[in-house]
């Protein structure tokens, strides 16, 4: 069997998700045995437009991004969104709640007129996306799992249960019980509840589960002392593009 040709691309992002792929370390060598990486700006200088699988990081924040993304979609048989910016619009969507002129001036000052911008959006708002690997950054084991599933021709098993499940499996004491608040009850698992395990709380970076009970989560947050504004802020941090944050 000929090895599939794989390419990596990025739009508005910190490129940290691609870094996670490089961080696969010894498993990276096994990945390179299974596939041919033909484009990966962060890791190599060669590039090619002839590829089967495209991993795309970043959100779409300019009209001109759309043409480039359409080009990638046209070349790739399978397009996979890599990380929160690409799957949800991510934290880049925080600017959507301000006027675009305002945010442009805030960043570029008197050079603002030289730059274009529009409300941030996930890849799927522009082109069809075949699979999504969530997270800020992605979980590299999940990246490997998705890649293996593609090579085997099976559907990747991306969890559709909240982070609470992985907290119980990791035997974490509930964040709410520790007197803090958490987005875990509505956030898609798959991270192994890493932030809570390390003593923090869930920020919601993997986005919402398919059928989140956002109303109940709002009630729970309010019961634990958050104001309406704080609660909205919790939902907007990563899922600003979704309906629940409106």
């Amino acid at each position: 069997m000929e090895k599939p040709r794989v390419a990596f691309f990025d739009f508005a992002s910190c490129e940290g998700c691609q870094l996670q792929v490089i961080n696969l370390e010894e498993d990276l060598l096994k990945v390179l045995e299974a596939v041919d990486v033909v484009t990966f700006r962060e890791a190599m200088k060669e590039q090619s437009d002839d590829y089967d699988i495209a991993f795309v990081e970043g959100s779409i924040t300019r009209k001109s991004d759309e043409e480039r993304l359409n080009g990638i979609r046209g070349n790739a048989k399978v397009l996979i969104a890599l990380g929160s910016c690409a799957t949800l619009g991510g934290i880049n969507c925080l600017k959507n709640f301000h006027s675009q002129e305002y945010v442009k001036k805030l960043v570029y000052g008197d050079k603002a007129s030289s730059y274009e911008t529009y409300p941030s959006r996930p890849l799927k708002a522009v082109v069809p996306v075949d699979f999504e690997i969530h997270g800020c950054p992605i979980n590299r084991d999940e990246f490997a799992m998705v890649l293996k599933a593609l090579l085997l021709g099976k559907k990747p098993e991306i969890p559709n249960f909240p982070v609470c499940v992985e907290c119980k499996m990791a035997e974490n004491i509930c964040v709410f019980e520790r007197g803090k608040t958490c987005m875990g009850p509505v956030t898609r698992a798959g991270c192994g509840a890493c932030c809570v395990t390390e003593g923090s709380f869930c920020w919601g970076c993997r986005g919402l589960v398919d059928d989140p009970n956002a109303d109940s989560q709002r009630d729970v947050l309010a019961t634990h002392g958050l104001s309406v504004q704080d609660i909205l802020g919790k939902f907007r941090l990563y899922t600003g593009f979704s309906e629940v944050a409106k």
Binding site: D27, K30, V31, E33, A34, A144, M145, L147, K148, L151, L152, E157, N160, F161, P162, C164, V165, K168, M169, A170, E171, I173, C174, F176, E177, R178, G184, P185, V186, V209, D210, D211, N213, S216, Q217, D219, V220
Partner: protein
């Protein structure tokens, strides 16, 4: 019934002797709560806990485990993975022992599950009577204040000493080899009864307003109660009530391949009937699509379906589901009492 006595000043040495000869797992403090974990020194072991955040079930049904390893050769090679390293589980409350007794029956039914059963056989269980009651516990009302089997030794703190009930010959050997003991007197035995009834009395403050044997009958005609929908409206489908339950045992099985695509392992991990995809099948249909149907299912499972198999509720009254549920809808006491009220 055979009762012995360990003086508290000799207890640490007993624990130390066990640590020197066995892998000892027991209750430790963490973030203001209690969890089971490896005990490396006697002072780590906590015996006056009210209830652990996660039940001891994890020692027999771990969060994630490998069932078998396979190689995709023409004949397909598969090797089962069975863990049976001996260990001591030190400090299990009677209600959790009752749950383990129920799980022993569940995993031995039909096709016996060697992964569970071998781990279970490898365990020595040292029970301990609760010294305090967790705010949501109702084990006294569930008939789980004491158990007559399922432990090798059972400790009761009676002030200056621990009274030890010997449950099995293995327990007796453990005591003979590693503890300094003397036989308990009739007065000691009476003191144990008194202490047990005092703590049980505190726990009885929570419970059902009607005999629990009537729960199956109550459920048989409660299928269409609006209460299910009402309560489930707040359900986060987070599965916490399932995952902290000592009598929930559902799991999901998956094949994890290596990157060489030639080797892999079959794993299973905890699952829960409150989770959205729990009843989703390969073709995509979900037999319990709504929150209400999943919420109702859990109570039917505990109070009716498993009752028919165990001749008892698959609930021991630990109250972990009640204290872990953020919208506070999982408490069986609250639910069944309300259901009974609506019935009238």
């Amino acid at each position: 019934m055979e009762l012995q006595l360990i003086e508290k000043s000799d207890h640490d040495q007993f624990v130390q002797n066990l640590i020197s000869n066995y892998q000892v797992e027991g209750v430790k403090r963490k973030d203001g709560s209690f969890l089971y974990g490896s005990i490396k020194a006697p002072e780590e072991l906590c015996l006056d806990f009210d209830c652990t955040a996660i039940p001891p079930r994890k020692y027999f049904l771990p969060p994630k485990e490998t069932l078998l390893q396979f190689a995709l050769t023409p004949d397909l090679e598969a090797t089962p993975v069975i863990e049976n390293d001996p260990f001591i589980l030190f400090g299990v409350h009677p209600y959790d022992i009752k749950a383990i007794n129920q799980m022993d029956r569940v995993f031995a039914r039909g096709v016996p599950d060697p992964h569970y059963l071998k781990r279970r056989e490898a365990a020595l269980i040292i029970g301990v009577d609760p010294a305090t009651v967790a705010p949501r516990s109702f084990w006294a009302d569930m008939g789980a204040s004491t158990v007559s089997e399922g432990f090798d030794l059972m400790l009761t703190d009676v002030g200056e000493d621990f009274i030890v009930e010997i449950g099995t010959n293995k327990g007796r050997t453990l005591l003979e080899e590693y503890a300094k003991t003397r036989p308990a007197t009739r007065d000691d035995a009476r003191e144990r009864v008194k202490i047990r009834s005092r703590i049980s009395h505190i726990c009885k403050k929570r419970g059902f307003a009607f005999p629990k044997r009537e729960i199956p009958k109550l459920l048989e005609h409660s299928w269409k109660e609006p209460l299910w929908e009402e309560r489930a409206g707040k359900c986060l489908s987070c599965g916490t009530c399932n995952l902290v339950c000592p009598t929930c045992y559902c799991f999901d099985v998956q094949d994890d391949m290596d990157l060489d695509l030639a080797h892999g392992e079959r794993t299973r991990r905890w699952d829960g009937c409150l989770l959205h995809d729990f009843a989703t099948v390969a073709t995509g249909e979900n037999f319990r699509e709504t929150r209400a149907s999943r919420y109702r299912h859990r109570f039917y499972r505990k109070g009716l379906y498993l009752f028919k198999i165990l001749d008892d509720m698959a609930c021991v009254g630990c109250g972990r589901c009640a204290s872990g549920c953020l919208p506070d809808i999982a408490d069986p006491v609250n639910l069944f009492n309300k259901l009974r009220e609506e019935e009238k």
